[in-house]
């Protein structure tokens, strides 16, 4: 099994959205929303992007208010937050103008209860032009729709979907050392539509291929294990 970050259709869509966000023309808003059910790898994908590129990752907390959020942002940008909230905001703006960084706000739904917090992010984006990506659960788009001014600034909205059969095939092609036949891919997809479960099946397929010196794994080999 190859240890690589498998690029599913969700990941490709996210990456192209990020490319569009960074190559956007003046006047086009640079905020983005990424949402989907839990367990689809939203945080992982953003973290992977963040590790390869220049990004700061902020995990929100349920109790977070505007001040706390700004303190976290300034801390992530490498500065010690000052005392007054106006100074902290200024610090954040200065740092972002000096060195544009994409901000990832994880679990942004937590902030949806307080308009002032969420609008602070909009202010930060408007003053600096720095891209901000909000990551939310399923229905996050509906929750944030209330904030009209914020919603208008979402240049890109990406919804993470459960894995399709084509995704399972592409994961197998990228990670698995043995070849899987189409019916095997279909079988795995019928059994699992989450990334982690698919990988478990791929490991099984590799073990079967090794034990039986097989070049290609078919559905009957995989379903045989169950019995």
């Amino acid at each position: 099994m190859k240890k690589v970050f498998a690029k599913t259709s969700n990941v490709t869509e996210f990456v192209s959205a990020m490319n569009r966000l960074h190559g956007r023309q003046d006047g086009i808003p640079g905020m983005s929303l990424l949402y989907g059910e839990p367990g689809l790898g939203k945080t992982r994908t953003c973290l992977w992007w963040c590790a390869q590129n220049n990004g700061a990752f902020i995990r929100t907390k349920k109790l977070m208010n505007g001040r706390w959020l700004l303190e976290e942002i300034v801390g992530e940008l490498g500065e010690a937050p000052q005392r007054r909230i106006s100074d902290i905001f200024r610090q954040a703006v200065e740092r972002l103008l000096e060195r544009p960084t994409t901000l990832f706000i994880d679990e942004a739904d937590y902030l949806a209860h307080d308009a002032r917090v969420i609008e602070t992010l909009r202010d930060l984006h408007d003053t600096t032009g720095s891209p901000i990506v909000l990551i939310g659960m399923d229905q996050a788009d509906k929750k944030l729709l209330r904030f009209k001014h914020l919603y208008d600034r979402f240049g890109e909205i990406v919804k993470f979907q459960t894995l399709t059969q084509a995704d399972v095939k592409s994961i197998a092609d990228q990670m698995c050392d043995v070849k899987l036949s189409d019916d095997a891919v279909h079988y795995i997809h019928s059994q699992a539509n989450r990334f982690r479960r698919v990988v478990v099946h791929l490991y099984k397929a590799e073990a079967i291929a090794r034990a039986n010196s097989l070049k290609e794994i078919k559905a009957e080999h995989l379903s045989g294990v169950k019995k």
Partner: protein
């Protein structure tokens, strides 16, 4: 030489960034996200663990059916990655000396 050092620093920054976000992580997990070999990750984690930045927090059975060691970040000091350096600590003088002869407090 500078290229190698640059790459090392780059890897450290990436690893530090990733482990600060993941609450609990295995070496394999980090190596996929950072796109570096498991050896690079474990050697940096070894230094971090010695200095008390991360601690081992148990085992988890992963997709390959084996148990993998889990780590947890114990000291989240900020966005800049801690730099391991070779030094000798002298309890008589209560200071640490880097191998080149510079003092570290």
């Amino acid at each position: 030489m500078t290229v190698i050092l640059g790459k090392q620093r780059d890897n450290r920054e990436k690893i530090w960034k990733v482990i600060r976000v993941l609450r609990e992580f295995s070496i394999g997990e980090v190596s996929i996200l950072v796109n570096a070999s498991g050896q690079v990750i474990s050697s940096y984690l070894f230094h971090l663990q010695n200095a008390g930045y991360v601690r081992q927090s148990g085992l988890r059975k992963e997709a390959d059916g084996r148990n993998h060691r889990l780590y947890r970040l114990a000291k989240n000091t900020g966005p800049k990655a801690p730099v391991p350096c070779r030094c000798i600590y002298d309890p008589n003088l209560d200071n640490a000396t880097v191998s080149e002869g510079k003092d570290v407090d």
